[in-house]
């Protein structure tokens, strides 16, 4: 398959770009932050997003979705990255929808997927427990109790955790932290007894939460996928999330870069446009190449996911690692080349730097994914 967008995918991009840049430019995020918006995103816009078919983009047609693939999801994520739009799209439409679609039984799919597609249900995956992304270190305990389980433990960086209607929790039903065996995914009602959710205001003004579970009772029907064998399902779902975040970071990087190049063409010092200085030209050129290479690696990963999620791990690791280093470089160069203006809150560049930092931690940073590639290659 060619590593360029098809005509249909380009149309999708144009449609998403038009909608997002019109209704949710960076000032939208700024407004949500400054007004301390309790939801953290625009419900109204989310409904128009759903009406356009975006909320159910990955949901199969039989459940009311569009039945599109990960490349298409990446196209939308990239546009989200350009304006830093806070949106349930990542947590609900990409990660949770994939978890339910890949791991759910018939009853679970028909219960939840149509609601995701219609935009009426928000869902999220709760995975990390410590400060760094280490899925196998999951130690939230799920102990058998009667016909079901009792869950106890804590999760951090749960995207949209305080607004979600459904939590997909990685828990340990057997084994100990670090082992692949013994992981199980559970569907948990956030309103269940024993669930305490604390919204955490993060550096990027996007939604995140800490969630504590104390003897939360769930029944046997709440198991998503197989008991003790959740690692494979989790790997796939996480890789889908990683590919999507990488695409967001590509959009974010490119937007910062475009704004920076524009600035180089307009800002004058020493009687010259600063873009005439070779020191800045070469740095801009290097960054351009970095972004192009990362864009290609990300498309490659998304195509690999569309081909076979189980075989996409290395391509995804490459994409997420590259996206992390590239976005980090892009936002730093962005601030540096904007000079003092780049340090002001009034200027948008800082928002990109903050979001890039969170994206870097989401589902594993560049170090994590570089390590994964080394292990996959046997050294």
């Amino acid at each position: 398959m060619a590593l360029v967008l098809t005509e249909e995918q380009s149309m999708l991009r144009d449609s998403a770009r038009g909608l997002i840049s019109d209704k949710a430019p960076v000032s939208h995020l700024r407004h949500l932050r400054d007004s301390k918006d309790p939801t953290g995103f625009s419900k109204e816009f989310w409904h128009s997003f759903a009406e356009m078919g975006f909320a159910g983009l990955l949901v199969p047609e039989e459940f009311g979705g569009s039945g599109l693939g990960y490349v298409e999801a990446g196209v939308v994520m990239e546009e989200i990255g350009r304006t830093l739009m806070p949106s349930p799209f990542l947590a609900t439409s990409v990660v949770a929808a994939s978890a339910l679609n890949r791991g759910g039984n018939a009853a679970q799919k028909s219960e939840y997927l149509p609601k995701i597609a219609s935009g009426s249900l928000l869902a999220t995956l709760a995975i990390d427990e410590g400060p760094k992304h280490r899925p196998l270190q999951t130690s939230l305990q799920a102990v058998r109790a009667g016909n079901g389980f009792k869950l106890s433990g804590a999760k951090a960086l749960v995207v949209d955790g305080h607004v979600a209607d459904l939590l997909i929790m990685a828990a340990r039903t057997a084994g100990s932290a670090g082992e692949r065996e013994g992981l199980t995914l559970f569907l948990v009602n956030p309103k269940a007894k024993g669930v305490v959710i604390e919204r955490t205001i993060m550096v990027d003004s996007h939604n995140a939460a800490r969630i504590e579970l104390t003897n939360v009772e769930v029944n046997a029907d709440s198991v998503l996928g197989e008991i003790d064998q959740g690692a494979a399902l989790l790997d796939g779902v996480l890789d889908i999330g990683r590919g999507a975040v990488a695409a967001e970071m590509v959009g974010l990087s490119e937007e910062v870069f475009n704004r920076t190049v524009e600035y180089l063409k307009n800002r004058k010092q020493f009687g010259k446009l600063i873009g005439e200085f070779q020191a800045l030209q070469h740095r801009a050129a290097e960054l351009y190449v970095d972004i192009e290479i990362t864009r290609a690696a990300t498309m490659k990963a998304l195509q690999a996911l569309d081909g076979d999620v189980a075989k996409a791990a290395s391509a995804v690791a490459v994409a997420k690692a590259r996206a992390g280093t590239t976005a980090t470089r892009a936002v730093q160069e962005g601030v540096q080349m904007h000079g003092g203006m780049g340090m002001t809150d009034q200027f948008d560049i800082g928002f990109f730097m903050k979001r890039a930092r969170v994206c870097e931690e989401l589902f594993g940073d560049a170090n994590y994914h570089t390590e994964q590639l080394a292990r996959a290659r046997g050294y």
Binding site: L68, R322, G378
Partner: protein
């Protein structure tokens, strides 16, 4: 949102081509030709004086040539395979799948051919392209001069009009394999009064012409892949000019895009075993099988990430070009990154090899293959336009930044 769905029928059409190609390659590519080339003798360059270094090399070359697959996407009438962009991609993927070597390496294929296809007249295409495809003529490139390196357009080699001929006098430098080449594609100044980019012509001539001499240059690697090339009143028919007289810079630039794409490929061309395994041989591994040098391991892993990403970008560059969406200067971006990456590869290889990578003259070290290759890579970011020139091109032509 149904209108965003892609039809899958086109991809299905390619499947029979893929199956046929796979079967043909399985049946026709000798096992010896499925291992990476490890020395210059493993590479077949063709030419009047070409010798095959082995029987499998000859068989593989001849079979591929007979299918037109030394140049799979050139038109059949010029000795090519006539494959579509999509079929060519399938063939490349299938060759890569079994590790098949290129049957023929040649500046004719990588550089001159594309320029002739675009700028050559029918007689020139008929004369030269089939001989390139069949490996009959080996070409060299007369671009750089002692005083025209990064500033290529300031070249001084003169071509003076004399009846139906040009008479060429001057010298070139860094002419790769000029001492083995049969013909040269050469930039010459046909109008000394014009602005520097406007008085240049692109001309072809036989290296056995009277007045041509070559002198190999010994490099830090101990090899002499480059020559100084001297022209003393070489007579060349005017019909050998490609494109319009004094408009040779257009041809030159177009060819440079292909040269840069070729050189950038060095950064992603795996040299057989993965770096991590090569390093394991010398530095050893711990109980979990990880390299016993965590800093080196980290460098290798970062390299692998970047190499895989560059490979995706190279693939995308080809796809963009075929889709008519490529920026013409993008090969400069690839050239910059690919060559810097290749230098990184060899710094890692030297570090991984330690003392073993320092031997210069011994059977054990294959006459210092690794240190010589390491030193050779240092030219990658100079030849075909330096890294700094590439970044300048990206800044001005792609990013449209202001200034000189």
């Amino acid at each position: 949102m149904t209108d965003f769905k892609t039809s899958e029928s086109e991809t299905a059409d390619l499947e029979s081509f893929r199956n046929e190609t796979r079967a043909w390659l399985e049946a026709n590519c000798p096992p010896e030709m499925r291992r990476p080339a490890t020395s210059d003798a493993d590479v077949f360059w063709g030419g009047r004086n070409a010798k095959f270094s082995s029987e499998p090399q000859r068989i593989w070359f001849e079979r591929m040539r007979d299918k037109g697959w030394t140049v799979p996407d050139w038109p059949r009438e010029y000795g090519g395979g006539g494959l579509s962009a999509a079929e060519h991609k399938v063939l490349r993927a299938e060759m890569a799948r079994i590790g098949a070597r290129p049957p023929l390496s040649s500046f004719g294929i990588w550089m001159l051919g594309p320029a002739l296809l675009k700028y050559g007249n029918e007689a020139q295409k008929k004369e030269h392209l089939p001989k390139i495809a069949a490996g009959e003529i080996r070409w060299c490139q007369g671009y750089s001069e002692p005083n025209a390196g990064s500033d290529l357009a300031s070249l001084q080699t003169r071509a003076e009009s004399d009846g139906d001929d040009f008479v060429i006098t001057g010298s070139k430098i860094w002419t790769s394999y000029a001492n083995y080449a049969d013909w040269i594609f050469c930039l010459v100044r046909t109008d000394p009064a014009a602005k520097k980019h406007d008085g240049i012509s692109f001309i072809l001539f036989d290296m056995t012409s009277k007045g041509v001499t070559t002198k190999p240059i010994l490099l830090i690697s101990g090899y002499s892949p480059f020559c100084e090339t001297f022209f003393d009143g070489v007579r060349v028919p005017k019909s050998h000019v490609v494109g319009t007289v004094n408009r040779g810079w257009d041809v030159a630039k177009y060819l440079l895009q292909h040269e840069r794409a070729m050189i950038s490929g060095m950064g992603e061309r795996g040299v057989g075993r993965p770096l991590g395994q090569i390093a394991a041989d010398s530095v050893g591994t711990d109980a979990q099988g990880r390299l016993d040098d965590s800093m080196l391991r980290g460098k290798i892993a970062s390299f692998d990430v970047d190499e895989a990403a560059l490979a995706a970008c190279a693939e995308r560059a080809v796809d963009l070009a075929k889709a008519g969406q490529a920026h013409p200067a993008f090969s400069s971006a690839m050239k910059y990154y690919g060559t810097e990456l290749n230098k990184r590869r060899y710094e890692i290889l030297m570090s991984a090899g330690g003392v073993d990578a320092l031997e210069w003259e011994s059977e054990r070290s294959k006459q210092g293959a690794r240190p010589r290759a390491w030193l050779r890579t240092k030219a990658n970011s100079i030849e075909g336009g330096t890294t700094e020139v590439m970044l300048g091109i990206v800044a001005k032509r792609i990013l449209d930044l202001p200034g000189a």
